[in-house]
C-alpha cells in the first residue's frame, strides 16, 4: 500500500527537515535520537579499548602494549563506559523517548533543559576525549588519591573536568524526569497505574539528582589539589586519602543503581508484553525500585573493607549491603513468576530480557560474596570483582538496553528489525558474554589482581578463554548496529502496536507525531491490563 504522500500524517522524523532542525530541536524524541547516536559511538570507542586490553591479556607477558599504555586503556575504558555510556544509556535514550509517551505527556517538563543537557554531555565527552588524545589518563576510573593528585603524570585534570561537566548533564536529566513524572502525567494516570518503567526511572532520577553533585565536588577537589598543589587528600599535607574514597563511593555506589535500575525498568516492560500477562507483584516491584534508590546510598563502604576504614564501619556497611540485596531478589522472583504461566513468545526483546534475568542473578549473587566481610578480603580488587560488576553492568544493563532498543524499535523508527539476525545476535551476546566473564570469577578466586598488565603464567588458560569470549561478544554487539541501521531504511513498516503490548506509547502511530498524542489520553485502567487490551482489540472470545 502506498498512499499519496500528502495523506501520510507527519511524524516527529518527517515534520522538520535538515541538520539544524535536529541540533535545535526541543522534541524529547529527537534529543533521544541525538543521545543514542552519541553514546553508540562512545560505546564502540570504549569497546575498542576493552578489545585491546583483552588482546594484551592473551599472554602473561606484556607484548602487545607496554604497562603505561595498558593502564591508560583500562582507565579510558572505565571512564568512557561508566560516564559516557552506562549512566546516560537507558535514561537518556529510551527514558528520554518513552517517559513522556508512557505517561501520556506531550514532552518533558523542561524541553530546553533537555537539549542543553545533551550539549553539556557532548562538551564533557569532548573534554574527556581531549584528555585521551593528549596522551590519556592512567589513574583508573576511580581516581584514587594520592596517585591521581600527586603521582600520575597524565591528563588527570582534563578527564576529571570532562566527567564533572557530564555530571551536570546527568543532574539536568534527573531533574527533568522527576518534575515530568510528578507533574505531567495524563489525567487518570495515578502512581499505581504507572508502568514499572516509570517507577524505576523515577528511582534512577532521584539517585542522579542526589548523588551526582557529590561526584562533581569530589572531582573538583581532586582537580584543585592537582592544579594548585595543595593538600586536600594528600596525607603529607594532613589530608586523608580514605576520605576521597568515601566521597567517591558515596556517588559511585549509587551510580551502579543509576546503571542497573533503568535496565530493570526495561525488563519490567518487556516481560509482561511477551508473556501477555500483568507483571507479577506490581507493588512489590515498584516499592523495591524505591527501596533500591534509598538503600543504595547506605552501602558505599563495602568498596572499602580493606582500605583502612574502621572494623565497625565495615560491619555497618556490610549489613546494610545485605539489605539492599533484598529488593533486587524480590524483583528477580517477580519477573520469574510473571513468566510462569504466561503466553510466551520468544522474540528478540524477550530473549534479551530472560538473558538479563540470568546474568543479573549471577551478578547479584556474587555481590553477596563481596558484601560478606570475611569473603571480601580475599576477592576484592581481583578479577572476581571485575566479573561481578560486568555481570551487573554488561550482562544486566547492556542486555536490557539492547532488549529495550529492539522492543521499541518499531515505535522509534517505524520499521521492524530483521528477527532472525536479531535472535542470532542475542545468542552471540549471551554466549560471548558468559565465555568472557565467567572465567574471570575463577581467576579472581585464584587470586589474580585487577589492573595487571602482566600476570603469572598459571592464569594463562582462563585469560585465553576470556579473550576468546570477548571476540564473540564484539561480533554480537556490531551485528545489531548494522541491521538496525539497515532496517531504518529498508525494514518492513511497523504497525502502531506490533507486540500488542499495553502502555500508552503503543496507542499512537509508529513513529509518533511530534506531540506524541493527537488527543491527550485519559487513563482508566491499570498498567499491564492485557485483558482489557484484548477486549478493546476485540480479540477475546
Amino acid at each position: 500500500m502506498q498512499p499519496a504522500l500528502a495523506l501520510v500524517p507527519k511524524n516527529y522524523l518527517t515534520e522538520k527537515q535538515g541538520l539544524l532542525s535536529w541540533f535545535f530541536t526541543t522534541d524529547h524524541k529527537r534529543i533521544a535520537i541525538l543521545y543514542t547516536a552519541s553514546i553508540t559511538a562512545l560505546f564502540f570507542l570504549g569497546g575498542f579499548f576493552a578489545l585491546l586490553m583483552r588482546l594484551e591479556l592473551l599472554t602473561p607477558e606484556t607484548n602487545l602494549v607496554q604497562p603505561e599504555t595498558y593502564n591508560k586503556l583500562f582507565t579510558m575504558h572505565g571512564i568512557i563506559m561508566v560516564w559516557f555510556f552506562l549512566i546516560p544509556s537507558i535514561p537518556n535514550t529510551l527514558g528520554n523517548f518513552f517517559i513522556p509517551m508512557v505517561i501520556g505527556a506531550k514532552d518533558l517538563a523542561f524541553p530546553k533543559i533537555n537539549l542543553l543537557s545533551w550539549y553539556i554531555f557532548m562538551l564533557g565527552a569532548a573534554v574527556t576525549i581531549y584528555a585521551l588524545f593528549r596522551g590519556g589518563v592512567d589513574t583508573g576510573w576511580t581516581f584514587y588519591t594520592p596517585f591521581s593528585t600527586s603521582y600520575s603524570t597524565t591528563y588527570v585534570v582534563a578527564a576529571a573536568i570532562g566527567i564533572l561537566i557530564a555530571g551536570f548533564s546527568s543532574i539536568m536529566t534527573g531533574l527533568n524526569f522527576i518534575a515530568t513524572i510528578h507533574k505531567m502525567r495524563a489525567p487518570g494516570l495515578t502512581w499505581y497505574r504507572l508502568p514499572i518503567f516509570v517507577w524505576s526511572m523515577y528511582a534512577t532520577s532521584l539517585i542522579l539528582v542526589l548523588a551526582t553533585p557529590v561526584l562533581a565536588v569530589t572531582l573538583l577537589m581532586v582537580a584543585v589539589e592537582r592544579l594548585a598543589q595543595v593538600g586536600i587528600f594528600d596525607p603529607a599535607l594532613g589530608g586523608d586519602p580514605v576520605l576521597f574514597q568515601h566521597m567517591f563511593w558515596f556517588y559511585s555506589h549509587p551510580a551502579v543503581y543509576i546503571m542497573v535500575l533503568p535496565g530493570m525498568a526495561v525488563v519490567s516492560e518487556i516481560i509482561p508484553a511477551f508473556a501477555r500477562k500483568p507483571l507479577f507483584g506490581y507493588k512489590a516491584v515498584a516499592y523495591s525500585s524505591m527501596a533500591i534508590a534509598v538503600l543504595g546510598f547506605l552501602v558505599w563502604g563495602h568498596h572499602m573493607f580493606v582500605a583502612g576504614t574502621s572494623v565497625y564501619s565495615a560491619m555497618t556497611f556490610s549489613l546494610l549491603s545485605y539489605f539492599v540485596a533484598v529488593p533486587s531478589a524480590i524483583k528477580v522472583f517477580n519477573w520469574t513468576a510473571t513468566i510462569y504461566g504466561g503466553a510466551l513468545s520468544w522474540d528478540t526483546p524477550m530473549l534479551y530480557a530472560v538473558g538479563f534475568i540470568g546474568l543479573f542473578t549471577i551478578g547479584g549473587m556474587t555481590g553477596l560474596f563481596l558484601a560478606a566481610l570475611g569473603l571480601d578480603v580475599h576477592v576484592t580488587d581481583t578479577y572476581f570483582v571485575i566479573a561481578h560488576f560486568h555481570y551487573i553492568m554488561v550482562g544486566g544493563t547492556v542486555m536490557a538496553y539492547l532488549g529495550g532498543v529492539h522492543y521499541w524499535w518499531p515505535k522509534i523508527s517505524g520499521k521492524m528489525y530483521p528477527e532472525g539476525l536479531a535472535k542470532l545476535s542475542a545468542m552471540a551476546v549471551f554466549l560471548g558474554f558468559n565465555l568472557t566473564f565467567f572465567p574471570q570469577f575463577i581467576l579472581g578466586y585464584l587470586g589474580m589482581p585487577r589492573r595487571y598488565a602482566a600476570y603469572p603464567p598459571e592464569f594463562h588458560m582462563l585469560n585465553v578463554l576470556s579473550t576468546a569470549g570477548a571476540s564473540i561478544l564484539g561480533v554480537g554487539y556490531v551485528m545489531p548496529l548494522c541491521y538496525l541501521l539497515w532496517s531504518w531504511k529498508y525494514g518492513k513498516e511497523a504497525e502502531p502496536n506490533p507486540w500488542r503490548a499495553t502502555g500508552l506509547e503503543w496507542k499512537t502511530p509508529s513513529p509518533p507525531p511530534t506531540h506524541n498524542f493527537e488527543i491527550t489520553p485519559v487513563v482508566t485502567w491499570n498498567a499491564y491490563d492485557y485483558k482489557a487490551q484484548q477486549e478493546e482489540l476485540q480479540l477475546v472470545p
Partner: protein
C-alpha cells in the same frame, strides 16, 4: 627444597574456614539460581504461545509468595552477614604472640623487616604454624598487601599504619601481589612469601647477616637523632619518659586519652605537635623529611623493647649491640639491603 614448590591453594590458619564459607555460599547460590533456571526453562517449553491471540494467566498477586520470597532471603542474608563478620574479625585481629614484621611499600616494591633486623625486598620468609603480624605503611601512593593463598589483603596507606596477620599452615612458596592500583609497574609489584618449617626458618634467620635487631637499630637512631638528650630515662626530663610507654594509655593536654600504639609513636615523631602529653610543653621539633619510614619503625621497635611487653626479643637474632649500618637517611634502596642475597631462599 620443598618450599621452592609453588603452592597455590589455601594455606593459612583462616583459609579452612574461608573455604568452607565460600563453598557453602557457592552451593546455596547455585541451588537458588538453578531453581530460577528450572522455572524459566519449564515455562519456555510449557507456556509457549500457541495461538496468535492467546493470553497468559492474569494472576498478578500472591501475598504468601511475596512475603516468603522477601523474608527468606532477608534472614539468609543476615546469616551470611553474621558469618562473614565473624570471619572478618578473625582476619583482622592478630593473636598476641604474633611475630611483628614491618612492611614499607613504595612504587614498585615491597620492603620487609624482621624484628631481628633481617631486611628483604619483595620476599618474605616466615615459619609455619606461627602467627605473623604485619604493620605496614607506604612511602608514596596506596598499595595493597595481598597473599591469595593466605586469604588476606590489606591496603597499605601513606602516612599511617595498617595491619594484617596470618599463620601459614603449609610450607611452600606463595604469591605476594599488590592489589591496589599504584601506577605504571603495578603488575610488577609482586613477590613471594616463603613459608618454612620452624627449623629451616631458624637457619634462615641466623644465616641472615642482619646488622642488629630493629630495636638495637632504633636505639642507635635514638642517640643519633639526639632523642636521648631530652627523653631521659627518668621522670625529671623535659620530655616524657619513654620507658613502659608502649601500649599504655597516655593523657593528652586536651584532656583526651590515647593508647601509645605504633601509629601514635609514628605521629609523635613526625608531627609532635599533633598530640601533646599532659604536663609537657610543645617543644619537640618535627622529624618529618629527616627520617625514613624504616628508621621510624626501628625507633618504634626500640620503644617497644623498653616497654612493658617486650615479647619481641624472643624472635630476634642475637647481637643487640648497634653496629655500623647505613647512615643514609631517606629511602633505603635495593642496594643497601643486599643482605637478602645471602638468604637460602633467595632466587
Amino acid at each position: 627444597m620443598r618450599s621452592d614448590i609453588l603452592q597455590s591453594g589455601p594455606a593459612s590458619s583462616i583459609s579452612g574456614e574461608y573455604e568452607w564459607f565460600f563453598w557453602t555460599m557457592v552451593t546455596v547460590c547455585t541451588l537458588v539460581a538453578l531453581g530460577i533456571a528450572i522455572v524459566l526453562v519449564y515455562s519456555m517449553i510449557r507456556f509457549h504461545r500457541k495461538r496468535e491471540n492467546q493470553m497468559g494467566s492474569q494472576r498478578q498477586l500472591n501475598i504468601p509468595l511475596e512475603v516468603s520470597w522477601t523474608a527468606i532471603p532477608f534472614f539468609a542474608f543476615i546469616g551470611m552477614f553474621a558469618y562473614g563478620a565473624k570471619l572478618y574479625f578473625d582476619i583482622e585481629r592478630p593473636p598476641d604472640n604474633a611475630i611483628p614484621i614491618y612492611v614499607v611499600g613504595k612504587q614498585w616494591m615491597w620492603k620487609l623487616q624482621h624484628p631481628g633486623g633481617q631486611r628483604e625486598i619483595n620476599e618474605l620468609h616466615v615459619p609455619i604454624n606461627q602467627p605473623v603480624k604485619l604493620t605496614m605503611t607506604s612511602q608514596d601512593v596506596i598499595h595493597s598487601f595481598y597473599v591469595p593463598s593466605f586469604r588476606i589483603k590489606q591496603d597499605v596507606l601513606p602516612d599511617r599504619y595498617t595491619s594484617i596477620w596470618f599463620e601459614a599452615t603449609r610450607p611452600g612458596k606463595y604469591h605476594l601481589f599488590c592489589a591496589e592500583y599504584c601506577g605504571t609497574k603495578h603488575s610488577g609489584m609482586i613477590g613471594w612469601v616463603y613459608a618454612m618449617e620452624p627449623h629451616d626458618y631458624q637457619a634462615w634467620l641466623s644465616d641472615g647477616g642482619a646488622e642488629g635487631s630493629l630495636a638495637s637499630m632504633g636505639q642507635k637512631w635514638f642517640h643519633q637523632f639526639a632523642c636521648a638528650n631530652c627523653h631521659h630515662f627518668d621522670s625529671a626530663g623535659r620530655c616524657p619518659d619513654l620507658r613502659n610507654l608502649f601500649g599504655k594509655p597516655v593523657e593528652l593536654s586536651t584532656g583526651e586519652t590515647v593508647v601509645a600504639d605504633e601509629g601514635y609513636i609514628r605521629e609523635s615523631i613526625l608531627d609532635p605537635r599533633a598530640k601533646i602529653v599532659n604536663g609537657f610543653q610543645d617543644i619537640m621539633p618535627s622529624f618529618k623529611g629527616q627520617i625514613s619510614e624504616e628508621q621510624v619503625i626501628d625507633l618504634i621497635s626500640f620503644i617497644k623493647a623498653i616497654g612493658p611487653q617486650s615479647n619481641i626479643e624472643q624472635h630476634t637474632s642475637p647481637g643487640s649491640v648497634p653496629q655500623e649500618y647505613g647512615n643514609q637517611k631517606g629511602i633505603a634502596g635495593p642496594g643497601t639491603v643486599s643482605i637478602s642475597g645471602s638468604k637460602p631462599e633467595t632466587r
